[in-house]
Amino acid sequence: MSHDTAPLPGTAPLSRATAGPIVRRRKRSLSASGPLARWLLPIGSLVVFISIWQLVGGRVDPLLFATPSSVVRALWHMIDSGVLGPAFVTSMEDLAVGYALAVAVGIMVGLLVGRSQVVERVLNPYINFFQATPLIALVPLVVIWFGIGFEARIVVVFMLAVWSILISTAAGVKQTPSSLKEVGRVYKYNWLQSITRIELPNAVPSIFAGLRIALGKALIGMVIAQMEITTTGLGGLVVNYGNAFKTAYLLGAIFTASLVGVVAAVILELIRKWIFPWTVSDESGARPPEIKPGRTLS
């Protein structure tokens, strides 16, 4: 502050040396968070990556390494010949049904576990067991119990997804602030009201975190079930193209599966923002929004 008027010996060079870079660094970080850079950097990074891939891929045996352009051509051919469409639909069916079951069961059981210490103590050994077990190793057992059809695939998707939802729901319910529970007691909420108006809303951010993790796991379950149980859907395409050494087609099927995951994650995020606007953190300086009464819970 005063080093340009009467600096103590030794302090002035130090402060000058530290003051300079700090200012410059702040400027650089400001431009990196600008709207232009926010879109330019990831897109640029993708363009560079795909270009390098194309250049390198062109010089290698196409059996080992497909170029981006050949993947796009393969994808187009898969759509055109009517292979990708049905596979996509089958995959979405497996994923949607298995995931929906996992959401329903996970939230319901998670609610019970979070509310009751007795239920928690009874179920904890199983929760810990299934958390620790590599569930994919159970696929042969699932086939023995449920056969090699739709049901078995659903079970695998469900089995992989349900635990994260259950655990995150239980954690969210358990973390309900005691003062909010007391508000419910003072104003005589019955058990249903305290679940739907206090405990579940309080758990919503935690539940959505679990839903996102579960989505990734459900996707893994879906592909594995379609590779190992019934050769069908996108997982089936991966197996078939892999066996036929059609690398470009193989990558096309894999990208379609990851696209499903990305789209589902975006849908999940939109649902959270639309139905549960209070879970969205505010941008600094933004005007506080008025919430229309109908758009929040209860």
């Binding site: 508000v183 206090i198 505010d282």
Partner: protein, 286 residues
């Protein structure tokens, strides 16, 4: 507003105590409250004042049925408190608003207790009136996190008042607010409580606040927690402005008296017994 001639008291506390069992067997149990006696008249405003750990919040929660007591008896409106009494409003220290509900929806929670089913229009007019009363009419559709801490406490107060409770219990409602907001809210609370007829029990560690708001101040001390003094605050109402009262000699005397009782209220039971033999100052109505 202090109807001293009222027939039956709104709240009767008789020989109430509580102890928590301690893990360490040598030190025995931890007595939180012991031999608490207090009668609060209908429409009266009583503050419980004391240092941390004197059990004032515990006593308030016992009146509200949120904490169990043993031994003793607490009657609210003539009924022994064994669960949460009907027609009470509770204002929590941290406002305790549901983060996912708008201010309006949070205030409506206060109507849930009533067994009567209100029509949509009745609910709307009651909630709107409560929000007007605390000056939050313009903020009905905001989420709690988008309003200030003082406004959140106003919303908590509106939620407690919307059901027109007979008993209003307030647990350090202004404890977390800055000094200026706190002063404004104290003034508004004084005028709001004057308009409702609720019997109010107010927990605070702020002696100025207690003297400004109360008809009587109950001074509590710790180890074991009990009421050591009851002081009548004979300042005429309406008391509208904190600043007007700051220069008043009588108010200052009352304040100093309460403060000295709070500060000297600790120590052992023997010390307190010795102190009780001292002559009371002449201006005390104790």
């Amino acid at each position: 507003m202090s109807n001293n001639g009222s027939a039956s008291p709104a709240i009767v506390i008789r020989g109430v105590g509580k102890e928590y069992a301690q893990r360490n067997r040598k030190s025995g149990s931890n007595v939180v409250l012991q031999d608490v006696d207090l009668e609060i008249r209908t429409g009266e405003f009583v503050s419980l004042v004391g240092t941390s750990g004197c059990g004032k919040t515990t006593l308030l929660r016992m009146i509200g049925g949120l904490t169990a007591y043993e031994p003793g008896e607490i009657y609210v409106e003539g009924k022994l408190v064994r669960s949460i009494p009907r027609r009470i409003g509770f204002v929590f220290q941290d406002s305790a608003l549901m983060p996912w509900q708008t201010v309006w929806e949070n205030v409506r929670v206060g109507l849930n207790e009533s067994r009567r089913q209100f029509s949509r229009d009745e609910i709307k007019s009651k909630v709107d009136a409560a929000l007007e009363l605390v000056g939050l009419g313009a903020y009905a559709n905001y989420l709690p996190r988008h309003i200030s801490g003082g406004m959140q406490q106003r919303a908590g107060l509106a939620r407690a008042l919307v059901g027109q409770p007979d008993i209003l219990l307030m647990d350090e409602p202004f404890g977390a607010l800055d000094a200026f907001t706190r002063m404004r809210l104290q003034e508004e609370l004084a005028s709001i409580v004057a308009r409702t007829s609720a019997t109010t029990v107010f927990v605070t560690h702020d002696v100025d606040e207690a003297v400004f708001l109360s008809d009587r101040v109950a001074v509590m001390s710790a180890n074991p927690g009990t009421i050591t003094a009851l002081i009548d605050i004979d300042i005429p109402r309406p008391r509208l402005q904190r600043t007007e009262m700051l220069g008043n000699y009588h108010v200052a005397q009352l304040r100093d008296h309460v403060l000295s009782l709070v500060l000297n209220g600790g120590g052992t039971a023997g010390e307190r017994a010795a102190r009780r033999d001292e002559p009371e100052p002449t201006w005390s109505r104790n």
